[in-house]
Symmetry: C2
Subunit: 434 residues, 2 copies
């Protein structure tokens, strides 16, 4: 009976796309998953395992026997294995590495030796390289014969005897050229490439900018050691976009929806508490002007307006700067250009807001001096806020500091403090006229 069940399951399950197999797998309970491991081979399960995120891989790996897991990993591309092993403790990593086939184990060790988020760490070792004196016919025969274990066969890289990259030819060009030509004749010699130590985001931008399906990764002596494929680039870009959103919202590393409320709160609480301390600084700033406030309590009513406007303008400039850094347009247009522009925008927004506000406050509060105080403060605050919003991420980026410290709430709080200082200083100096 069990044998029949196994056959029936395999027939249905293996017909699915591996992505759909993964969705089905994730919907099963532990007991059902044990049956899956029994019914399908490690080679078949590798397709599912490589698509899981690190947390899911963690518990799946704990459910598998050591031998089965090693076979699963032997079947996967080196970049996926390195990504999984990188999420484990050093001890567990070593014990799994020891169980892998020799070549695969060496490849993965190499990837793990590069710093995180570099091209070297995310590349895959499974690429195709040929010599320039081979004919197209020979190369196609080889592709046909070997059914190679390469992640892509659409770009074929050409290397010399020492492994230096000398050219590239696409399968499209191979197919559409006459078979007796040598690779030398058809290959492109100006190859867009990246280096093992390049940031993964920069490598991803090269693929996106040049519309490539993969990019070769070289050592500092131009030896070809791996490739990054376009599907990994999409993952990198999505990851970086999530980081950008995290920067704007002080939830860096905490936008993951796969964790429980308690785990997420643990990650988010330090930010909230830290920002609360910054809020206490703001409280202290206002406290300095207690006498002014006791004289004219109505002044408090405009605290939120000054704060919100400063925060909003700063966040807009921050968003522009963050996206400019992410898409590389800062490098093309220049930093000074960007800052001048944002300062200009801040001044313009300040003038517009001040004019609108002076009218409204006169009408609703019938108090011209109050209107002038609030409007002047707003004008000065917005001009400064726009500049600070743009300048901070640029400095942070230049200094290679964790950009989380330039995140939206920090800039907002900084702008709050500046704005309130401007507001209360002006208000205090004009207090006698109020």
């Amino acid at each position: 009976l069990k044998q029949q069940e196994r056959i029936a399951f395999r027939l249905q399950f293996l017909e699915l796309h591996s992505t759909d197999q993964r969705f089905v797998f994730l919907s099963l309970n532990e007991q059902e998953r044990t049956l899956v491991y029994e019914y399908i081979t490690p080679q078949e399960f590798a397709e599912i395992f490589q698509g899981l995120d690190n947390m899911e891989q963690g518990w799946a790996a704990r459910e598998l026997e050591e031998e089965y897991l090693a076979k699963v990993l032997d079947e996967m591309y080196s970049d996926d294995v390195a990504d999984f092993l990188g999420s484990l403790s050093g001890e567990r990593q070593a014990s799994i590495l020891a169980a892998l086939e020799e070549q695969g184990s060496a490849d993965v060790r190499e990837l793990l030796s590069y710093p995180e988020e570099t091209a070297g760490a995310v590349m895959t070792k499974e690429f195709i390289s040929v010599r320039s004196d081979q004919t197209i016919q020979e190369v196609i025969e080889r592709l046909r014969r070997e059914t190679p274990n390469a992640e892509t066969i659409y770009y074929i890289y050409v290397t010399d005897a020492a492994g230096h990259l000398v050219g590239v030819v696409s399968l499209r060009e191979l197919i559409t050229s006459s078979p007796e030509k040598t690779i030398e004749k058809v290959m492109g010699k100006k190859v867009i490439s990246t280096s093992v130590t390049t940031d993964q985001e920069d490598a991803a931008h090269l693929i996106s900018e040049y519309d490539l399906l993969a990019i070769p990764v070289l050592t500092h002596n131009d030896v070809l050691v791996g490739i990054i494929t376009v599907d990994d680039v999409i993952d990198i870009l999505e990851e970086e976009a999530t980081e950008d959103v995290g920067e704007l919202s002080a939830s860096r590393g905490a936008t993951d929806v796969n964790v429980t409320a308690v785990q997420a709160a643990k990650k988010r609480a330090p930010w909230i508490v830290l920002l609360m301390f910054l809020g206490l600084i703001t409280a202290n700033v206002i406290g300095q002007f207690e006498e002014t406030l006791e004289a004219v309590a109505l002044l408090s009513a405009f605290i939120p307006l000054i704060m919100d406007s400063a925060g909003n303008t700063g966040t807009q400039s921050l968003a522009v700067a963050v996206r400019s850094l992410a898409t590389g347009s800062v490098e093309r247009k220049g930093v000074i250009q960007l800052l001048k522009r944002e300062l200009g925008i801040g001044i313009l927004l300040g003038i517009i807001s001040a004019i609108v506000l002076i009218g409204i406050i006169r009408i609703f509060y019938g108090n011209l001096i109050l209107a002038v105080i609030v409007a002047t403060s707003l004008f000065l605050t917005l001009s400064v806020a726009a500049l600070i919003g743009a300048i901070f991420p640029l400095i942070i980026n230049k200094l290679n500091i964790d950009p989380a410290v330039a995140s939206g709430p920090f800039i907002t709080t900084l702008n709050d403090i500046i704005g309130l200082l401007i507001y209360f200083t002006i208000a205090t100096s004009l207090l006698q006229y109020l």
Copy 2:
């Protein structure tokens, strides 16, 4: 002499990758650009033109003669032509369409007929389709003979006589299978596809989720009418990421760095002014409690703290919800699950913040009642703020309203108002003990 100059320019310039040609082209002045148009053919310029953004295409097109421009467009893939024409006025669009070759013109008209940002509007018509009874040898011969004008030849789609999609085979499979087999034998029959009316972002997620190089686009009768390739998907995902950042910062549509300060200020000013009006509502809320404030001016000092904490918690939850929507994880895990989680996080953050704060205020201000008022307000505010931050983008998404109205600053302002109402209500009711 000019002839020699032309040859020298062509030799150097055409050796560059088209992306680098584009960078060089963009660094030239108008007079130099005129020489480029003269020195290189429309077919060669098409490679540069298709990579320009819409604004750059606009001025380049105005510098070109009508006939040259038509030849440039005839050389480009239909999706790129439609993207360019979509940015022009109806009149100019019609006059250019009339100058194009018949087939290309019809293809582009079809793309322009679909609503913006749907799969139908961004797909390309240049794909390869074959019949299932052809042999692999025949198909490869055809690819070799026709050197086809297809955007990708790595996926070959299989259709029946009526044009319905019945299968797909990759060039990789063609190359590695024996040439005498029919396509029927090697093709995959479960094809991941999308429909002309599907949102471009959903189509992009399919490519990313299933690690594809292209996805076929079908009409509602399953007729294959186009494909979307992975390089366009990267552009779509980057565009959507920029939109997400815009949503968080009320600068939607204003993060473009290619416009002048005045143009950017024009786009950003309405948001800032609108948000200023919301700030006036907050001012009004505080104004209601003028008597309380006159009694205890120190209460104003904690306005920023309540506002910042409410804003930060709300923005964190917003970031989680926005990324969950963008990566599709909401659909997999469920809305209720997400909301329960964020409420839980809000309550936890509220408890942590309240405990920290009660200690600090007692120590620095020596006022237990004040500490209790602020801490209780903070606890209630954070619980509500987390829920509002998550619930808003989900509602907006459900109702298909422009998500800009759920942007960070709006939620922040809403949370400010709620937080201050809670704070002053509690403070007023406990005023006698202060």
